[in-house]
């Protein structure tokens, strides 16, 4: 699901300008699967797929596979269209050191939305 973040995409690469000083590692959990995503200077450098024995990351986004699928629709329904919308419905949990996420919130929103079919920025 999230391993496609490493695929080269013009729209995704264009996000780098929003996060060129960002270096972080974060986890996305679908409850069934875990992904560790490494960001280097605003680009997705690596996505590792779990299970992990001793995962090391700064923050973690957890939602069910069903919720992530709804988020990733071409046109998501109301309440599934934004990370904070998921938080509002209490279907997303965010843990860890939130500073990298909150200081680059638009970048992360658009990065994940870049997995939607035909998404352009």
């Amino acid at each position: 699901m999230f391993n496609k973040l490493t695929e080269n995409s013009e729209s995704r690469n264009s996000l780098q300008i929003m996060a060129k000083n960002l270096n972080t590692v974060f986890m996305i959990s679908t409850m069934d699967h875990e992904y560790i995503i490494k960001i280097v200077q605003g680009l997705v450098a690596e996505v590792k797929i779990g299970p992990f024995v001793m995962p090391n990351y700064e923050f973690k986004l957890t939602a069910s596979k069903d919720e992530w699928n709804k988020f990733l629709k071409v046109i998501p329904i109301p309440g599934s269209h934004d990370l904070i919308a998921l938080l509002r419905r209490k279907v997303l949990q965010i843990d860890g050191n939130l500073h990298p996420l909150m200081s680059h919130l638009l970048y992360f929103k658009l990065l994940l939305a870049s997995l939607r079919p035909s998404e352009k920025f």
């Binding site: 109301p78 200081s103 929103k109």
Partner: protein, 279 residues
């Protein structure tokens, strides 16, 4: 080269609000029934740029949009200091009444969005005799915090970036990207701590509580419209409010928290019938 001139004029005025001088900027266009528009938390009057340019509305309404103190081109009140801004119900109501009195507007219509959609409930409860009608966009009686608003004002997080990111998500993915960008940009230009200071009213002090039961719709008509993509003041919450007051509400398709700014074309389809009832 000839430019396309808009019908909007902007002016500054000095208003005495609660004994303090406030230098306030407002824009207006049109003639007829005064229609005072209130912008959302952390933004400014540019959100109503489409209304101020809409020929149909301007034939019957004098559309007036002011920037709240600390927002847009309005100055902080005399004697202000950085880091102390907090919007209270009392100060918000005083500022609206002070602005209306200052311009000597008689029985205006007031339309507010988000915090503006909340404050019209206080106006309806406590000052209904002053208004011809009240329009609430994205109105809800109260809002429980669903994220930590301290992130909106920290020295280690760029205020413009975080406020813009929060606003961006509140819009519908179906709204035109150009309008969404402009709406986000207004948020990116807000002063430090101002969005957070406005949210003190929205999330805490401005909760209407049981006072909502005192609202008498027969004395001053109230209209409620809410975008389906708004997860801050959801259509379900507006419905609860509407049922309590005893009015209908309209759920607007394909718009989110900033209907007049993120998708004006869609929003105006819903607003015209409301304004026609008011004329």
């Amino acid at each position: 080269m000839k430019i396309k001139m808009e019908p909007i004029t902007g002016r500054y005025g000095n208003f005495n609000i609660d004994g303090v001088n406030h230098r306030i900027y407002w824009e207006e266009a049109g003639e007829g029934i005064p229609l005072v528009c209130l912008h959302t938390a952390g933004s400014d009057g540019r959100q109503y740029r489409a209304l101020l340019n809409d020929e149909k509305i301007l034939k019957n309404f004098r559309v007036i949009v002011y920037d709240m103190p600390w927002h847009g081109k309005s100055s902080p009140p005399q004697g202000s200091k950085v880091g102390h801004y907090q919007l209270s119900t009392k100060s918000y109501v005083s500022q609206i009444l002070g602005f209306i009195d200052g311009l000597e507007l008689i029985k205006p219509v007031v339309m507010g969005c988000s915090i503006g959609g909340r404050v019209i409930l206080h106006l309806a409860s406590d000052h209904k005799e002053k208004f011809r009608a009240l329009i609430g966009l994205q109105s809800a009686g109260h809002l429980d915090p669903y994220y930590d608003i301290d992130w909106l004002h920290r020295q280690d997080v760029h205020g413009g970036e975080i406020c813009g990111a929060i606003a961006y998500g509140l819009m519908a993915p179906t709204s035109p990207e150009e309008e969404r960008f402009e709406t986000m940009w207004h948020y990116m230009q807000g002063g430090p701590g101002i969005f957070k200071g406005d949210l003190f009213f929205y999330k805490f002090d401005g909760n209407i509580g049981d006072k909502v039961k005192q609202i008498d719709n027969s004395k001053c008509p109230i209209y409620l419209l809410t975008g389906e993509y708004d997860y801050s003041a959801t259509p379900e919450e507006t419905k609860i409010l509407a049922d309590t007051i005893g009015v209908d509400m309209v759920k607007m398709k394909n718009v989110g928290h900033f209907p007049m700014s993120e998708n004006p074309k869609e929003f105006l389809k819903y607003l015209y019938p409301v304004l026609n009832k008011i004329i």
